[in-house]
Symmetry: C2
Subunit: 378 residues, 2 copies
């Protein structure tokens, strides 16, 4: 094969340069600081682990999508983590199995797949998030959604939309008050995912009540009103507790957030149970985060409830979000080192000359130190 | 093969749990904040790249030590980075080739090898560092050493020892004033690395002057005095500029630091040029960081001088360095959310009850919110 150009990176992998790297670091830091104030403690899972222990806990990635290699020590296959939520589950179920519940953990770092999916060409992403292990109750959902919003807003993200979903709703209704033959349920789900009312009608009488569910989608209040009408009608009250839960989760969310409902959507996260949500930000295509209720497998074969969210802030950073640079002060050769230290403590970024050739302007300095004084540069 | 226990990680890979994960994050953050104040701008290199572009720039890792996989997109081999300094060189030589020099960059993140080396069993390490591209002058060395010390001290590391080395000294002397036949130089270097004065004597007359160099090792001032004696004697003044450089680098270093000299040591970093240093901390076996002068290959085949340092803080963290935990306040069900937000702003970490069963004491809380008041627990 031809030699690779020295600066070329594989498709879907990229270096982040200033100021985007600084913006990314700042955003991750703000999110982690925010969740830490709510008692989420930091864990740093290993970058790689045995493929076997990873794949059994992965919710939405397949083994062949992972970057894998044979471990020369154990002769088993290692894989780079494609997701950190699965690792948090492993930690909660093993080394932290005896830690008191609810166990609140947070994390942030790179994740990687060998194959990108169609929606996202990048193979490496930054993931930052928080999980409650030991509860998927309504108060847990209220906390997770509101902690996610607070973290994003503290990091300066504006124009946030939260889309609530009820991932297991269709299955619950199909097995209960709005019966559908078991072998038809997956087909029904697929048509609802596609919001295809026409093809739903073709499925016949059992699918007909579900057409109204497609209509209960969109801005929160009108969609909830339609959902309540379904509950009072063919759902026969089976939705009452979910409706109350959604209202409780929405209550503390401010009207600076756009809230929508999509009761039949799963966003490809089939493992979620009663509640899910996707996070969008104005000006960005695709979600910047997601969360919801799920189950964590324990070592003894049972499972425990969990609720969490993950953010994937790269699209925000790529769009130039959050870049800011400090005031840069040039320090000539032989400058007063004590004064320079004082000025750094006051917030200046100092750039020390290494030779007479160093160009303060080219190095991005807006001022220089002259004795003890700061002199602006043209 | 047998199934793997669900909590087992491959040898040399580990999850970091609270409070070590928090301590690690805090240390990396402090170091990066410190160097940013001196104008080092953050870059985040890709976690993986083409093996070919990575290996040509690696200084001390071999291809077979890397975690590699075939890229399904390009059909070329990808490798996870074992080191970030090589990536900074690539970025400086390609995408940032036109950026003004000296170019100051900093970085922090996980690095990984498939095979550990004998000294260090861990295969994943945290690396954080700073590089000046475009200068390996004495002022650049003064800045790099002192910025490294300041960063470690701000992060709270005490009992720091810096060991100065002169990596290309022996070769320079052997080709000049203290001549050794070219085919003997590597043997000479190996015996000096081993500080083996006896076997040096066996090499015969040409190696004899080097015995004094082994003695010029240890606490900075006596070792420098011996080096000056060698310079005035058989080195015939060839060491004068290096001696002046070492004195200049040492000058701003405070006496809270232990300074040593080891003029024949390379610490396995053969790629360094005139100056190198290793960083040790009291109570830790092995270095916690290293740095020095080197060359970065440009895309046009030439190279440019560089100077930098990298820290590998994991041993500090494993020893419990830097753990601290905030005051944790329990928020009972139905608590005053506004008051809780005020208390978080004042520095409290709040733990909200999700059910009546949540145990404030077990969850590590030292107080609870009672109305608007804080009530101590236990």
């Amino acid at each position: 094969m031809d030699a690779i150009a020295p600066g070329l990176l594989p498709e879907g992998l990229a270096d982040r340069l200033p100021p985007q790297a600084e913006a990314s670091a700042r955003l991750v830091r703000e999110v982690l600081d925010s969740v830490a104030r709510h008692g989420y403690r930091r864990v740093m899972p290993a970058l790689a682990e045995f493929e076997e222990t990873l794949v059994t806990r992965l919710q939405s990635a397949k083994a062949e999508d992972l970057l894998r290699a044979v471990d020369p020590v154990s002769q088993r296959t290692l894989a780079i983590r494609p997701d950190m939520t699965a690792q948090i589950g492993r930690i909660a179920a093993t080394r932290m199995a005896a830690a008191p519940r609810p166990l609140r953990l947070c994390y942030g770092g790179p994740v990687m797949k060998l194959r990108a999916d169609q929606l996202r060409p990048e193979r490496e992403r930054m993931q930052v998030g928080a999980e409650i292990i030991g509860s998927d109750s309504v108060p847990a959902a209220v906390e997770i959604v509101n902690v996610a919003i607070e973290a994003l807003q503290r990091a300066g993200v504006q124009g946030i939309t939260i889309d609530f979903t009820l991932p297991d709703l269709v299955t619950t209704l199909a097995e209960g008050p709005m019966p559908v033959p078991p072998h038809e349920i997956e087909r029904l789900r697929a048509r609802l995912d596609a919001k295809d009312a026409g093809s739903l009608a073709e499925m016949g009488v059992s699918a007909a009540p579900y057409q109204a569910l497609i209509e209960a989608t969109g801005p929160f209040h009108p969609a909830m009103t339609r959902l309540e009408a379904i509950d009072a009608g063919c759902a026969n009250g089976a939705l009452a507790s979910r409706i109350a839960a959604l209202r409780a989760i929405a209550k503390p969310i401010g009207w600076d957030i756009t809230l929508t409902l999509d009761p039949t959507e799963r966003h490809g996260f089939e493992y979620q149970s009663w509640f899910g949500f996707s996070i969008f930000a104005e000006g960005f295509i695709g979600e910047i985060g997601r969360g919801g209720a799920y189950q964590v497998a324990r070592a003894d074969g049972t499972s425990e409830a969990a609720m969490g969210f993950s953010l994937y802030p790269d699209p925000l950073i790529d769009a130039g979000f959050g870049s800011e640079s400090g005031k840069r002060l040039f320090l000539p050769l032989g400058h007063d080192a004590g004064r320079a230290a004082e000025l750094r403590a006051e917030g200046w970024v100092t750039i020390a000359a290494l030779s007479r050739a160093d160009d303060a302007g080219a190095l991005g300095c807006e001022a220089m130190l002259d004795g003890k004084e700061i002199t602006p540069l043209g």
